[in-house]
Amino acid sequence: MRSFSKKFWVGVFIVGGLLLFTVGLYVIGSYNQVFGGHFEVYTDFVSVDTLTKGARVRVSGMDAGQIGAIDVPRNAGNKFHLHLKVDEKFRQLVREDSVTTIDTAGMVGAKYVDIKMGSANSPLCNGCTLPSQAPFDMTALMKQGSGLVTSVQSTIDDVHKHVDAAIDNYSSIASNVNGVIGQVRPNVQKITSNAAQLTGNANAIAVGLRHGQGTAGKLLTDEEMAENVAKTIANANQTSANAVQASQNVDSMISSIQQNDLPDVHATVANAKDMSGQLDQAVGTFLAAGKNSNETTAEALHNTIQQANQAMGNLADDTEAVKHNFFLRGFFHRRGFFNLSDISRNQYAGTDFVKKPTVRVWIPDTGLFTMKPDGTLELTDQGQNIVNQNMSDLVPYLPHNPVMVEGYSETGLPDQQYLVSRQKALAVRTYLQSHFHLNSKLLGIMPMGNHPPQNTGKSEWSGVSLVLIKSR
């Protein structure tokens, strides 16, 4: 029994082992189309790209068979001839226009032959030789990739250089901006200070007005004063009427005198006395102190004008500062100047009037000026003609472009040269302003003494020079 049992198990072992071996044979054979029906097609390749017998064959990406054989070409000009065993179920897909390629399963997978599905109009391939496409050359791709990497590296280097340059530029710009901010800061602070002062002045004026200071304030708050002013005006009207009446009376009196009618003269004198008295009353009312203040109307009016002058002065300073601020000075730079009436000789040397004038004419002072009784200069008639003639060069650019009248004097000490040259420039300016109706803001004077600008080619001059620049 034991022997039988041992034989039985040995039989199981042997048969089972052989069955397992057979299963392996069948599985491998079935995947290799050994047992199933297949048909054979052919294709040619210049390079088989490591393909071997038994390599996979796919039809449009699906496993369909294997390479049955590879015929090595007999001559160098021929191609490798591949025998492709394809499963029978793919027969309808493989047409004579199907193209074969050698592909790789993944980046490092095995090579296989792929047969592209043919067109429906093409006949079935029964033992035909399919057209092939050259295999994908990984080495060539790697070379291209290497070239691409080199190109990319070069591009990155270029970009890096440009970025570095851009960063340098930005650094420079930032440095410049910092410098500009540093330069602007005092102006801004000045503007702020002036604005604060202006606001303070305005506030003070408003407070003064609210508290009845000054004439305007009193007019707003002091009813008595308002009544006084009204009365004054009424009195003034009355005075005016009386004056008219007096004038009529004087006329009548003169007429009466001329007609020897003396009683009218007496009446007229009486009316004149009356008129004088009413005038005295009106003036007294105007000069009288207010009910609630020791300040007379005239004093109040004087104070108000002084405060207004101070406020306007501050306002002028503020507007001048604003002109130099970062946002507005571009306009004045493009115009070529900030304020022609307030510019020093050093500042003037840096303007376009000196650096690149559009028109510059030189007028000698021979017969140009005459001295008035008060010691100042004015143009003679001949001088006016000379100026008119020289203005012909400037006229095409008038009236919207600025003109500077430079005065020159060679005589005396520098202070005398300054004063005389200023008078010459002032005389010409006065004439130009009145004769050519030029805008006073666009017409400036510059006492140059005896120092013409260097780029004019003149070392000394006596007379005037008219300079015009075109505003940008």
Binding site: L25, Y31, N32, G54, M107, V108
Partner: protein
């Protein structure tokens, strides 16, 4: 110097005696009496009793091979080649060698110890006295059992390894389903990858059986000789299996170039 010469002389003497022993065994494989009953017993002992060891070892080896191969393949995105790597590794060479080494360790040692024990206890002499051809009865039957059992065990170990790899691939994250694994494992294979590697284990079985039987059949020096025969059976069998595998692989490449 004398020692080295003695070793060389001993080596060639051993090789010559083993060759003569193997020739006799190979010749007697095809001579009557075939001793079927004893052969079946030896197949039972060498083959059937080795099934659990072989199946479990193959399964474990497949799992390990799957995990190791996957970790390597993942580095260049070739996880889909894991089944192919396992099947090719198991079927083409590793399965045959592992099976042979396992059998050499388990069966070869047993044969060497058993025959050596019979030799030193004069049981073989007793068989001879009973007119029994001890060589055919003890040696040929064991060699036959190894020759028959080893290809079957190798097939079992190969499939166990593929199954272990399949289960591993089904479990690990990013693995693949069984059907896809099965197809990817066997689709790239051909019979030339499968049959020669199984058949070469016949040679391995013959080597294991012959070496073990020779060392046991010619054992001397009592109990010490039994232990020496057992140890040497394993060592020499394993060594000769690996060395012969080098030659067989070259022969397989020669006969099946693709």
């Amino acid at each position: 110097m004398k020692t080295i010469i003695g070793w060389v002389v001993s080596f060639f003497r051993f090789a010559g005696e083993l060759g003569v022993f193997a020739s006799r065994a190979f010749r007697d494989l095809f001579r009557r009496p075939f001793e079927i009953g004893e052969t079946v017993d030896q197949i039972f002992e060498a083959g059937l009793r080795s099934v659990p060891l072989i199946a479990l070892s193959g399964f474990a080896f497949g799992v390990v091979l799957s995990l190791q191969t996957r970790s390597s393949m993942e580095q260049f995105g070739a996880e889909s080649m894991v089944p192919q790597a396992i099947s090719f590794g198991m079927f083409k060479d590793i399965g045959a060698v592992i099976t042979s080494l396992l059998v050499a360790g388990r069966v070869g040692a047993g044969i060497g110890a058993q025959l050596a024990g019979m030799r030193v206890t004069e049981q073989i002499d007793a068989l001879e006295a009973l007119a029994v051809d001890s060589f055919k009865y003890l040696v040929v039957t064991r060699i036959t059992a190894c020759v028959i059992a080893l290809p079957l065990l190798t097939t079992l170990l190969d499939f166990s390894g593929v199954m272990g790899g399949m289960i591993s691939e089904m479990i690990v994250p990013g693995g693949m389903p069984a059907e896809l694994y099965w197809r990817d494992a066997f689709a790239p294979m051909g019979w030339s990858d499968y049959v020669p590697s199984i058949l070469k284990t016949v040679v391995f079985g013959f080597i294991i059986g012959t070496v073990s039987c020779y060392l046991g059949y010619t054992a001397t020096q009592g109990a010490t000789g039994v232990g020496r025969a057992s140890t040497r059976s394993v060592v020499y069998s394993s060594l000769l299996v690996i060395l012969s595998d080098v030659i067989l692989v070259k022969l397989i490449f020669f006969w099946f170039p693709e």
